[in-house]
């Protein structure tokens, strides 16, 4: 009896240590950025049952269109994705048609501009990285498609950054054209504060506070970074229920098969 108890304890400690090992080792590398603790406003897509709020997604898309898209590309986002964030197909076609994309060569060998179609991806604001740097005081505005997954803290980081602009403390001397943001690595960021109260007029009439816009944009960019998040979590629930039932059955079979051994 004692040796059995010892075994159980041994097993428990091995698993606990292994788990602790993963948490310990992955933890610090993910929370690396110096600066202060991120704000966590709470998003509807977090947690095991999370889904995106379609209103937030569409408003976030509008903020991207009207604010971010003058400097930041979103190259992995296609207009055919618009119906997936709640626009009708006709709305999506109309939105696409507002953009011009380069196509060709035509029968005479010339490239030409035409209105975007659903199959096109969001056009980049700049022809290339050098053009982007030259228009932005030497800084390169990164593509936003994967931003939420490319930063420790994900959507909380993005929200904190967007709402985190402050006047610099007296001991900080800002470089030319730089702004102070304690959530940014190095605390000096080349992007001026992008969001202002009523900076956009929301199509659905929501009051466009900085907080609201930051939340909507963080939601939208999470969708762009991980468009199958809802499918993944929805499938996860079914897989988990199935696996737990299966494992419980296997345990009972195991007990039955082993009954005569001890």
């Amino acid at each position: 009896m004692t040796s059995y108890r010892q075994m159980t304890r041994l097993r428990a400690s091995v698993f606990a240590l292994a788990t602790g090992f993963i948490l310990l080792s992955a933890g610090p590398s993910l929370a690396a950025e110096d600066s202060r603790t991120l704000k966590s406003p709470g998003f509807s897509f977090q947690g095991p049952f999370g889904t995106f709020d379609r209103g937030e997604l569409q408003r976030g898309f509008q903020v991207y269109q009207e604010v971010c898209s003058s400097c930041h590309a979103l190259k992995y986002f296609a207009f055919r994705n618009l119906p997936r964030i709640g626009f009708s197909e006709d709305q999506a076609k109309a939105i696409a048609a507002e953009y011009e994309v380069t196509d060709g060569p035509d029968v005479e060998g010339e490239m030409f501009e035409r209105p975007a179609r659903l199959a096109d991806h969001m056009p980049s604001p700049f022809a290339n990285d050098n053009a982007a740097r030259s228009a932005n005081n030497g800084a390169l505005p990164p593509d936003l498609s994967l931003m939420v997954k490319a930063r420790a803290g994900g959507e909380d980081y993005l929200y904190s950054l967007l709402t985190g602009y402050e006047d610099p403390p007296s001991d900080v001397e800002l470089g030319e054209g730089m702004s102070f943001n304690p959530y940014f690595g190095g605390r000096q960021i080349a992007m001026p504060p992008p969001l202002f109260e009523d900076g956009v007029e929301y199509a659905d009439g929501t009051a466009a506070s900085v907080d609201q816009m930051a939340r909507d944009l963080s939601t939208f960019l999470t969708w762009v970074a991980e468009p199958d998040l809802e499918t993944r979590k929805g499938m996860g629930i079914k897989v988990m229920i199935f696996l737990i039932l299966l494992t419980a059955l296997l345990y009972m079979v195991k007990r039955k098969v082993w009954r005569d051994i001890h």
């Binding site: 041994l10 080792s25 990164p142 994900g154 051994i261």
Partner: protein
């Protein structure tokens, strides 16, 4: 498992020409006697084999969509994530599967160390396992390079540059590994080729590993040799059903990562496309390589660090002889048992140091932990064996099982 003496005429027809059914029966069937007292730590071997299969199957599907070229690799991974049907699922299974593979294999290795499974007559079995570990590390490293993100690129830079520490021929070797004078598309293309090849080499070594296992059979929690049929039970159905239950538990843990936290074990920098002009602030490998990374950085000299890192695995090849104890299992070794848990803690500390930048107190902790790691194998192991007086193990496997089940048996009798 179809029994070879099955009345099925097709089975008999095949068996007469190619005795595959009796082979299976002797490998994982009722014809393979296993000690009756194996605990759940003995589930890890079959689990590792299953994860290897999951990795190979998901990897083959990923390779149908992935483009191993410096200009297209990152985009092709995003194509898999966005446009390929269930591409996100296949990729998350594969990337988290690598972590699960190492988790299972590390438990497997520490189980072998606790129960002395490396000792006579299983030295070659242990060696083959270590060869599998080395091949896994190489495969995992090259696989991590394939998405061609920042951590892929700079991880590859750090690791391939280690070879430049070799005197005289180091630099030419690095150029040869890269396929050029910098890490670029040729490097990525050869890493892809090797990443596809190595898992099949692993399969080959796994077959040898299982072959060697079957010569003397599984070790067991008492460490006593099987003395007769009363000590064993057929692998099927007893261990097949126990392994299946373990597989269920494992899949629940695996599914948690895949469906609810798929990027936690990775690094956010790998969602930034590789940029040779911008070094990330901290270059860290995946969690399963962190202890070795800490040993590498513990030595201030580059060549010394590479040698220490190599020696950290190399010393494991020697433990069948460094362990001088006549008793296999740490359970009956009051002194050595304590040191086993200290070693496990030491490896966890090394992993923690490896995850942090080499500054401040992490340098000292890393050096102490590295020193202790080698002290354990080179000093503690032989001396504990010489000076410790182990408790007496039970007389036989079956008597240990009866002792354990004693309470139950008498309870059953009382009911009858």
């Amino acid at each position: 498992m179809s029994s070879p003496d099955s009345g099925n005429r097709i089975v008999q027809w095949i068996e007469y020409r190619l005795p595959i059914f009796s082979w299976l029966d002797h490998t994982v069937g009722s014809g393979y006697p296993a000690p009756k007292n194996l605990n759940y730590l003995w589930n890890m071997g079959s689990l590792a084999g299953i994860v290897l299969m999951i990795q190979i199957v998901t990897g083959i599907v990923l390779a149908m969509h992935y483009v191993p070229h410096g200009d297209m690799a990152f985009d092709s991974v995003e194509h898999i994530m966005r446009n390929v049907n269930y591409g996100w699922l296949i990729r998350y299974l594969h990337s988290n599967g690598a972590s699960m593979f190492f988790l299972v294999v590390y438990i497997h290795i520490f189980r072998g160390m606790y129960y002395g499974s490396y000792k006579y007559p299983r030295e070659l079995l242990w060696w083959l396992g270590l060869v599998i570990l080395l091949l896994m590390m190489a495969s995992a490293f090259m696989g991590y390079v394939l998405p061609w993100g920042q951590m892929s690129f700079w991880g590859a830079t750090v690791i391939t540059n280690l070879f430049s520490a070799i005197p005289l021929i180091g630099e030419p070797i690095v150029t040869w590994l890269w396929g050029g004078f910098a890490i670029a598309s040729p490097t990525l293309q050869r890493f892809f080729s090797l990443h596809y090849l190595l898992p099949f080499v692993i399969v080959g070594i796994v077959i040898l590993h299982i072959w060697a296992l079957h010569i003397h059979g599984s070790n067991n929690p008492t460490g006593i040799d099987v003395k007769g049929p009363q000590d064993t039970i057929p692998f099927h159905p007893y261990y097949t059903v126990k392994d299946l239950f373990g597989l269920g538990v494992f899949l629940i843990i695996f599914a948690y990562w895949v469906f609810y936290n798929p990027n936690y074990l990775g690094h956010p920098d790998n969602y930034i496309p590789a940029n040779p002009l911008q070094t990330p602030p901290h270059i860290v490998p995946e969690w399963y390589l962190l202890p070795f990374y800490a040993i590498l950085r513990a030595i201030p000299d580059k060549l010394g660090g590479v040698i220490a890192m190599g020696a950290s695995i190399g010393v494991l090849f020697l433990i069948p002889w460094l362990d001088t104890s006549r008793v296999r299992v740490a359970t009956f070794r009051p002194i050595y048992k304590q040191f086993f848990w200290i070693l496990l803690a030491d490896v966890v500390i090394l992993g923690w140091v490896g995850a942090n930048p080499p500054e401040g107190h992490f340098i000292l902790i890393g050096q102490l932990a590295t020193t202790y790691y080698f002290l354990h194998f080179l000093i503690v192991m032989p001396f504990a064996g010489w000076f410790e007086s182990p408790r007496k193990p039970p007389d036989s496997i079956s008597s240990s099982v009866l002792e354990k089940g004693g309470g139950n048996a008498s309870a059953k009798e009382a009911v009858q």
